[in-house]
């Protein structure tokens, strides 16, 4: 998995510009993913690649289309120094893997090859031989993931009360 490096405060308008929000078709959105930061990104990225960014990734709009576009493009995970809160929540809800890891965000260079162990949170930089550890995912979030996403979680909750 190749790293594509971006800067701080990557906002949702950059991740998926509003001019493409007249549809919610994931495949259509994926074609324009990160377009205003790197117009070639959607063509260059391969399934399994990783976005690595600085602080406050996903700031701005609540549009779930942002993590949907990234996921539909086949991006395996987003590693950032920090995430904006709505984006963070949305990513879990739609099943995009995100890892908060300031050290990785700092040290990984564009083009580095990575491997990630989601159980331990270890991010291995195969290019430099370094290892970084992401902050553990909060237990409540893990619970939602274990249920297969928020919608399944809600379905089970409702069945329990019916």
């Amino acid at each position: 998995m190749r790293a594509f490096k971006f800067g701080d405060d990557i906002d949702t308008d950059v991740i998926i510009p509003a001019r493409y929000l007249n549809t919610s078709d994931p495949e259509e959105l994926a074609k324009h993913c990160m377009e205003d930061a790197d117009p070639e990104f959607a063509k260059k990225a391969r399934p399994g690649d990783v976005i690595v960014a600085g602080k406050n990734f996903g700031c701005g709009s609540s549009r779930e289309h942002a993590p949907i576009a990234i996921k539909a493009l086949g991006i395996e995970a987003v590693i950032a120094k920090s995430f904006a809160r709505i984006f963070y929540r949305n990513s879990f809800n739609i099943g995009l893997k995100i890892l908060e890891c300031p050290e990785a965000a700092e040290k990984i260079r564009d083009g580095d090859e990575l491997s990630i162990n989601y159980d331990t949170g270890e991010i291995k930089n195969l290019t430099t031989g370094e290892s970084y550890f992401a902050k553990p995912i909060p237990e409540f979030m893990q619970n939602i993931i274990a249920k297969g996403g928020l919608i399944n979680y809600v379905r089970e909750k409702l069945q329990g009360t019916v």
């Binding site: 308008d13 001019r19 700031c59 809800n93 928020l150």
Partner: protein, 421 residues
Amino acid sequence: MGMTMTEKILAYHAGKEVVEPGELISCKVDAVLANDITGPVAISEFKKIGVDAVFDRDRVYLVPDHFTPNKDIKSAEQAKILRDFAKEQNLTYYFEVGKMGIEHVLLPEEGLVLPGEVIIGADSHTCTYGGLGAFATGVGSTDLAAAMALGETWFKVPESIKFYLYGEKLLPYVSAKDIILYIIGQIGVDGALYKAMEFAGSALKLISVEGRLTMANMAIEAGAKNGIFPVDELTLEYVKGRAKREFKVFASDPDARYEAVYEINVEEIEPQVALPHLPENAVPVKEVSGKDIDQVVIGSCTNGRIEDLRVAAAILKGKKVKDYVRCIIIPGSQSVYRQALKEGLIDIFIEAGAAVSTPTCGPCLGGHMGILAKGERAVATTNRNFVGRMGHVESEVYLAGPAVAAASAIAGKIVHPEEVL
């Protein structure tokens, strides 16, 4: 240890006596909302849950305001999904074009978001309602779908930061927008990440309820979970006669815990402009005075209220918009539009050579009704100046209050209002 307003509202809705920052709670919501961009995704997720009806048809608000009146076929299809769902669920509060306003202008006006309530919306500027003393925050479509089914959602109780505003008067042409741009300039676009921004202090009496809505609206631009104002006589006066249901007032305890307290003398704040491409790039307008512009937008969920239009009209009255500059004015709701008509503001705008539109979010997010070409520059009373936000990736948005925006339209360049009067 006392609790903040935010903590008290959350505790009450979670059925608990006490909550603490960091605690995860399941919380009842008083209302949920979505628009024509986020609604269709929420509706599609809602249908996967397998329930027939929303938790309460009086408390699910759908407002097609972003790409409406529909800008193209695809947008029309999105808006239709909203309309069909509203019909199917027999929702009380679906606002069709003609009755529609920008959601965060419309819903406070309609008394559908009230002090002490918990409101979530699939729109990041849902935090606007904190201006009325509600806990209100933006969520994504899936979270909204879950809340439409359950009538509840989960939160991590946020730490609170207090912004203590003091001072006896504002400088000429300074409005709530300048104060919030100044604050974001001080703390940065992630300065309140995941936190509650609580506004307090003696200067609040200088800030109208509409101004408070403007300020709470931009809490998200500092990364905050919510912005919140205390409920005072001004708030109660505003909601009187509008409120569609009973509400409960909460106030922060004197010994409530804050992660940080900022003290701000509002008397020192000059009219602000936030330079591209982040709202944190706020500077006094005088520092950028003289930059040529191509467009001015006055409107949005931040500054599309009647007071904003009054400020703009006072400056545009008897003046002309500069040649080759487009000045687009968008009242935030039908009632704002009608009030502006009654007061003769629309006449002033048209006389000045401005375009006046039916309510829409339109240009704020680069949707329609005023998209920028490559290399163009706009002054806008909107909330975001991100790369490509209002159009071409190489266009620029300078955020300002209505006074600076109106004055800049006359001058054809960014100016302090005193330069055109």
